[in-house]
């Protein structure tokens, strides 16, 4: 969209302003998700502003804490995001996180090597779970909801059987140090979050793999007829997603210093919520990571702020539920009219 050539007399503030507005409009239409993404992050800031105004937020460190927790939520939400983009849904989140965490702590405490083996092993295990999910969905044609639900149930049993009567090992020290360390006033986790978001965004938007994920989420038939290996991409999607859950499990275990059998449970619903809040269509094919990051942040922010208040956990949950509904309705409105 061209804004006409400049005459010397036109170079005034208002002309530049019009030009900027025109460029902005073009950007908005070029990147349709931009609006959703910005909205989420704006609301995130607004929530904190509100919290500050209401006296619930007194310290900048509270913002930081919220962001740190949000990073974990984001890593999980990214996995869910990719699966939803491809047109599915992943209910194996909780137990993949948990089993990865437990796998790592067990491996780490039984071997030396600074826990590297444990971390790598856990990530590999998580990825394998994803491949299993992907095979069920892509080759055996089972619906993603049931396939991943089945995986979750099976892993529940595996974890239960394994941890029965055994104390959960602790995470390797180097990992703990890394996760709880900081550079200056900023926690390491925040940096991880930023790097992760950048890498994840680039993966989705700039690689052939990412492009194909969007494609099969839009239409598996058209993708197939355009030469995409739909089944292979699907398996890769679930593998990537489970890798993320495993990563979150590893990170969490480092942060918490150990793993526990229930550690993955609180992440399932928030992962779905973050993805939807961030503008990804639950029907697949549309959305991006920055939005999901915003969604995760927003979701966690509300939770953290509410945690800092004297409101009991019950009211917090109610508020979260209501906010989620309102947000989704608004997104829906936007989509229908926009």
């Amino acid at each position: 969209m061209e804004v006409g050539g400049a005459h010397p007399a036109d170079v005034t503030a208002s002309a530049t302003f019009t030009k900027l507005v025109a460029r902005w409009r073009e950007a908005l239409s070029r990147y349709p998700n931009l609006r959703a993404v910005l909205t989420v992050w704006l609301v995130f800031l607004a929530v904190f502003a509100l919290g500050a105004a209401l006296g619930w937020v007194t310290h900048l460190s509270q913002v930081e804490t919220a962001l740190v927790l949000a990073v974990f939520a984001l890593v999980v939400a990214f996995g869910q995001n990719v699966v939803i983009l491809s047109g599915g849904i992943d209910l194996s989140v909780p137990l993949t996180i948990t089993s990865a965490g437990i796998f790592m702590t067990e491996l780490a405490s039984s071997s030396g090597s600074h826990g590297i083996l444990g971390i790598v092993g856990a990530l590999a295990f998580a990825t394998a779970i994803g491949v299993w999910n992907g095979v069920w969905v892509a080759y055996l044609k089972v619906s993603p909801l049931i396939a991943t639900l089945g995986t979750n149930i099976i892993l529940t049993g595996v974890v239960l059987a394994y941890s029965q009567g055994k104390p959960i090992g602790s995470a390797p020290q180097p990992l703990i140090d890394f996760m709880t360390g900081s550079v200056g006033p900023f926690s390491n986790v925040l940096f991880m979050g930023i790097i992760f978001t950048i890498v994840a965004t680039l993966l989705l938007l700039r690689t052939t793999f990412g492009r194909r994920i969007y494609a099969i989420g839009n239409s598996p038939d058209v993708s197939y007829l355009s030469g995409i290996r739909t089944r292979g991409v699907t398996i890769a999607v679930y593998a990537l997603a489970s890798f993320s859950y495993g990563l979150a499990g590893v990170m969490l275990s480092g942060w918490n210093r150990n793993a526990s059998p229930l550690m993955g449970d609180p992440f399932l619903f928030p992962s779905i919520a973050a993805v939807v809040l961030g503008g990804t269509s639950i029907l697949g094919g549309r959305g991006n990571v920055v939005g999901t990051a915003g969604g995760a942040a927003l979701f966690t922010a509300i939770g953290t702020i509410l945690a800092a208040t004297t409101l009991p956990p019950s009211t917090r949950d109610i508020i979260i539920g209501v906010v989620l509904i309102v947000a989704v309705v608004m997104i829906q409105r936007e989509r229908v009219t926009g």
Binding site: M1, S29, R30, Y31, P32, R206, T207, T208, F209, R211, R212, Y214, A215, N218, S219, D221, V222, S223, Y224, L225, S226, G227, I228, R229, S281, G285, R286
Partner: protein
């Protein structure tokens, strides 16, 4: 048939407007139909016919405008209201729930019930059976699950469902789209009976002029969301009708046809069979446009899919440049230089990736060419996409706008366009102009002609015989799973094609 309680109504529509975003589906549409008449509503795809139907059926609320049935203004705010007003519709996109039986579907929304409020399966079964028999469709089993019926049987059920409501106004929306010849004759008979009884006015929406001429008393021609013309008789000059429909004369729509290519074939099929397709042999030469014609579901779809590797070839083989090849999947066909434009039969809108940009759609099959180690080079990709858009005569903003925001015609062009980038030597175009407005149709025709002139071989399937006759060098007809021998350009006529499409028997009423 029971005597009508009220006599048939006049239908008067004024100033209907309906906009979807910036698209005006209806732009001040009017219509007048005489009491008891069978009134045709004709127009090209995109002229507003289906929106008009949806408004009358209560599915869509217009932004403005009025409708009067029998002199009284009607509120068509919902399907319920429409039914109350005595309007029954047989929809083009069938209003049947696939998991329910015929009887269960037809007894919706108010199945008969006993005094306790319990729905009586027996009563709905017998009511349905009665209706089916009354309208000469007794061969359909009321207990059959709709999802398992053939497309034409489903359409028959849909039509009987509307007939059985004993409406004052019956709307038939492209009712013959999925019907075979015998069923079309069946439909004409039932409409004839309706007309004779005098209790009902019929709106017959179609784009098939021969049917309109045979069946209808009067017509309204729609174009661009409004009435472009009307007539009290159906026996008016076809030329005039077409003029009203498309605003220009037919001759300009088709480009010059290049001379028939000779030379060795690029793509050969030797007696291939795949699913419903039993035997197909063809030879497609370089720069040739070979037409395929056939009634719905006679194996042509399987032919295209088999040639593209999307379906397995059960027997026979395919040759490319004289060498036998086997396509295990579309990937191998694409690598061999074949491209396909294949739009699903039921919905014409799913040939592209709707929420993705024009650029992403165009580069989908060739993505690896613009990427190194998986990393996409945006600049090169955009350059290639831009070039394609220029060749297709689409505005630059289609690069980043989601394809669903483009018109149906432009979407179709993009679907074809991705094979330009792929430099496909062979293009398999399956009904590429379905649902496309007339302007874009001629652009697509020009595109096809240019491609052929440039050496690309085109296999073109179309439900519009005019396209086959005017665009193709030769044509072959699919009938009952078998592909007939090629018909040369000099013998390509409506008559010849229809004869083969019907298996060699030409019924008396077909217009030449």
């Amino acid at each position: 048939m029971s005597a009508p309680l009220t006599s048939a109504p006049d239908v008067r529509i004024r100033g209907l407007r309906k906009a979807y975003g910036s698209t005006h589906a209806l732009d001040g549409a009017d219509l007048d139909a005489q009491a008891g008449a069978v009134h045709a509503v004709i127009g090209e795809n995109g002229a507003g016919k289906s929106t008009l139907v949806k408004v009358l059926a209560g599915l869509v609320v217009p932004d403005e405008g009025t409708a009067e049935i029998g002199g009284a203004a009607v509120d068509l705010g919902s399907p319920h209201h429409a039914q109350q007003a005595g309007v029954a519709t047989a929809f083009q996109e069938l209003s049947l729930a696939p998991d329910l039986t015929v009887a269960e579907n037809l007894s919706l929304p108010s199945p008969p019930r006993n005094r306790f409020g319990i729905v009586s399966g027996r009563a709905s079964r017998s009511a349905t059976r009665e209706a089916l028999e009354r309208w000469e469709a007794g061969h359909i089993d009321p207990l059959a699950r709709v999802g398992g019926l053939s497309l034409s049987a489903k359409q028959q059920v849909e039509i009987v469902g509307a007939l059985a409501q004993e409406p004052r106004l019956l709307i038939l929306d492209e009712p013959t789209a999925a019907l075979g010849r015998t069923e079309v004759e069946w439909l004409f008979r039932q409409v004839g009976r309706l007309r004779a009884s005098g209790g009902c006015t019929v709106l017959f929406v179609s784009h098939r002029l021969s049917e309109v001429r045979e069946l209808c008393d009067s017509m309204t021609v729609m174009r661009n969301g409004r009435r472009a013309g009307s007539s009290d008789s159906s026996h008016i000059d076809e030329e005039r009708i077409i003029n009203m429909m498309i605003g220009e004369s037919l001759a300009q729509v088709f480009p010059e046809r290049s001379p028939e290519p000779t030379g060795s074939p690029v793509l050969t099929a030797r007696q291939i069979a795949s699913g419903r397709l039993e035997s197909a042999s063809l030879e497609l030469r370089k720069g040739e446009i070979l037409g395929i014609a056939g009634l719905q579901d006679h194996g042509q779809r399987q032919l295209f899919r088999a040639l593209f590797g999307a379906d397995r070839v059960d027997s026979g083989h395919i040759e490319l440049d004289g060498r036998a090849v086997r396509f295990r999947s579309p990937r191998s066909a694409i690598r061999a230089g074949i491209g396909i434009s294949l739009v699903p039969e039921e919905r014409a809108t799913e040939g592209a990736l709707p929420t993705m940009s024009g650029r992403a759609n165009l580069t989908l099959p060739t993505l690896d060419r613009f990427a190194r180690f998986g990393w996409i080079n945006r600049r090169r990709e955009e350059a290639a996409a831009l070039e394609a858009l220029r060749a297709l005569d689409i505005a630059e903003r289609a690069l980043w706008e989601p394809v669903e925001a483009l018109s149906g015609g432009n979407q179709q062009k993009i679907i074809i366009g991705k094979w330009l980038i792929a430099e496909a030597r062979v293009m398999l175009l399956y009904d590429p102009t379905r649902g496309v407005d007339i302007r874009t149709k001629s652009e697509i025709y020009r595109l096809i002609a240019e491609l052929a002139a440039g050496g690309t071989s085109v296999l073109l399937y179309s439900t519009d015989l005019d396209e086959i006759i005017n665009l193709c060098h030769r044509a072959q007809v699919c009938y009952r799973g078998a592909l007939g021998a090629p018909i040369g350009a000099e013998n390509l006529t409506n008559q010849a094609l229809l004869t083969e499409m019907l298996g060699g028997q030409l019924p008396k009423e077909v217009a030449a």
